[in-house]
Every structure is written in C-alpha cells, then in structure tokens.
Symmetry: C2
Amino acid sequence: MRDTPPAEIRQLTRAGQWAGTTVGHAPGCVQANLVVLHRELAYDFLLFCQRNPKPCPLLEVTEVGSPLITHVAENADLRTDLARYRIFRDGELVEETGDISTYWTDDMVGFLLGCSLTFEAALQKVRIPVRHLDVGSMVSVYTTNIECASAGCFSGPMVVTMRPIPGRLVSKAVTITARHPISHGAPVHIGDPAAIGIADLGRPDFGDPVPVYEGETPVFWACGVTPQTVAMRSKPALMITHAPGYMFVTDRRADELHLP
Amino acid sequence: MRDTPPAEIRQLTRAGQWAGTTVGHAPGCVQANLVVLHRELAYDFLLFCQRNPKPCPLLEVTEVGSPLITHVAENADLRTDLARYRIFRDGELVEETGDISTYWTDDMVGFLLGCSLTFEAALQKVRIPVRHLDVGSMVSVYTTNIECASAGCFSGPMVVTMRPIPGRLVSKAVTITARHPISHGAPVHIGDPAAIGIADLGRPDFGDPVPVYEGETPVFWACGVTPQTVAMRSKPALMITHAPGYMFVTDRRADELHLP
C-alpha cells in the first residue's frame, strides 16, 4: 500500500478492500484527522481550532450537510473514505466502525485537521530518524497537562506525539516541522516529559511505546487526537472522529499546501 | 505618535485625544483590521476567514457579547479603541464614527484580522523602500477580480494593497512577507495589474495613488479591507469594521506572533 496513490487508497477503503492504518502510506501527501459535529456545535469547534492551531490546524471544513471534500481531495466522501471511525456520545467512546453513512444527517459538518504523519516524511527526507516507523509500530501519543484555549463548550488538555531525536538533530527537527504549520508545526515541548504531565514515556495513552536511547531527547508535537480528549471532557451529544492512525489521505502534497 | 506604545495609543483614542490613522505608528507591533457581526453570522464569517487566510488572517475572536480583547492586547475595548469605524447596513456604508458603544449588543462577536501595516516595518528593516510611507500618503488599495472562497452568506472579490518594489528586491519582499502569515503573508500577485482586474494603478479604490518608477514592479498583497467589499456584496443586516488606515494596535510584536 505504501506507494498507492491517495485516490486509490480512498477508493479501496470505500470498497472495503483496505481496513488498515495509513501510517507510512502515500509519503509526501498530506494526511488528515477527522472531526464531525452537528451544525449547532460547529461554531464553537471552528473557534476552538482557530484558538488552538497547533493541535487543530484546519485543512478543510465541509458545507453544512455535505460529506464531500472539494479542496484537498477530489471524489472524496467523509462517510466512507477512512478505514476506521470512532463514535463519541456524551463524551464516551461507544463504537468503532468502518462506515459512518448511517450516522450522517443533513446538519452535519466535517472538519479535516492536519496530521503529524505528514511531517514524518519530511523528517526522514533530511535523514532525521523516526523511531516508530523504523521499528514498525504506532507513534507514541500522550495526554498532557497543557490546557487548550477553550471555545464555547469545548475545552480540554492537549494531546501530543513523541519522537526521540538525537540531540544534535533536534534543531533540524524544529526547523523542518516549523515549515509545516498545517501539520502541527514546530514542537510544543522538548525535553522533560514530567514538565508537561507525562509520568512515564513507557506507557503512552494511545499507540505504542518506543525506546529513547542515550543521547536522544524526547520531542513532543501537538496531535490531532486532541479533539477526542476534548470530546471526553466537553461531552457533545455526538462527535465522530477517525480512529488514531486511520487517517483521511488527501490528494495534496505537503510542499504544495505549505508554500506561501 | 510614532513611538507611542500601543496601550497609550488605545488609551488616547478611547479618550478622544487621538483621531488620526495608525499608519507608521508603533513600528514592529501588530496592527489589526476589525470586523464586528451578530452571532448568527459569526460561523459563516469565521469559516470565510478559514477559507481565505491571505486576506483574512485571524488574530483573535472575542467571546459572544464581549467587546474585550484578551489575547493580543490588555485592557482593550473594541467599542472605543479604534479612531474611526464604519457602519454597514444591508451592504451599504451608512456612517463613519469614532465610537461604536451605542451599536454594541450582547450577541456581537468581534474579529481582529492581521494587517499589512505590520509587515511594512519588516520591509523597511531590510531596506526595502515602502513608497507611500516615504511620500507620506495612504497605501494604494484596489478591488480585484480574484474571487474569494465563499462561506455561507459571505462571498466577494479580494481587495489588495500595492507597493512598487525595485525588480532586484522583489524576491526579498516575497521572502520577508512570507514569514508574516498573520499579516497577509506573501504577495498574491506580482506584475501586470490588468491580470487581476485593475485597469489603472493611478486610480485606487481606497487610499492614495503612488508613482511606479522605471525598473519597479507592482507587488500586490491581500488586504484586510476585503471584508468590507464582501459586506457590500453579501449585505449582512449589520457589519461594523474599522475605517481603512484606522487600525486596532495590539500589544504584540510581529516577531512574537510569527515565531513557530
């Protein structure tokens, strides 16, 4: 699947012929986190994204009621083109499913947010090792004690991804990811995990742990799973998201979206 | 006034002791365009900004009903801290005033958008001449045939500012302003005015004309006056904006807001 074009990944997923993650797929193409809400909560969430651009960098917002993506992908349908979705009711994860057609109503709005899977290709391109890709596991994801700026009914802690980076390459990792603002941009924290409320790097809240070797520094980037912890705190009647690692793959190349 | 701190500019304006423009004031500090709308139109406008980040780069959105700015300035009140406002009713400019307290209702939302007055200081710092500042006039502003991405009830043409730049400095001007994405970022067009629907550079739609000398290229940046032309097209019952050149001056330095 690694070199399958985005449109084909979406088509295979829609047809039920691919149900895996998108980790490492379509390198260089922008992948996206998904949030779906009823229109009555859309203003608060849009404002939440505006106030928290690092965890929630907006790529596209659908028209009210339309599941179709028109800007970052062609012939794309948010109801079917991701392999795994999560249904949150009143802040509780009640179901994971491969198709949300039965949940979609004509007052729903879909939000696509940038994703750190995108900048990993940029890191590798300049020879910065990405541990979890090298060992074939999921990125380590942690809930922090960094409080997001609230907006209306939405508030909650920032979720981050962690990658161990050799000390001499940390500056380079900052510089490269700063050039990808819509894929979470530069790190939000570099160094001591305890300073942002992470007690044990070996026990991530999502994904898999990875070893941090001598001479390496833990580097933390804001993560698009943040809306899921915000959902748990804010308890909207219904919020639909992607399942971590099962992203929407856009047709757009990172370079294309990030050029000024 | 040039070196008066932002907090004092706002205080003098509030007290009615300063009623002039903010052009060239508080160099290095971020200045902002203002849009005020009733809550019922706030989602559409927020989405319009998300879809048109070049003309409408959002700096801060107030809480519903609150005229207070808390993120980019302290002790700031949107009802009184700008020297001149424009009142649009059903798409028509019906009044200019120095105080909008009597218009403010408890369902209003204020939007501050970045402004090109901010990046002019950055241009001058690297010795790129800014003609209208050198001759002491207002920047030249034009309505183009570039259609903004619409959002709900809001649609309309993009408004741009033009600065003549010596050909050998155009690359530098692009690079510097690309680093200021919340002040409209890199130019949207460089060269032939007719290509974006401008028939005569000598007759700007707002502001003053400036000469373009031999060896200079007209360079066009997206402009925060865009919401005013959008108001004329979209005809919201009430939209309040700043008057061009009479901006909200924030406490934040451009470097501070633009660092990743």
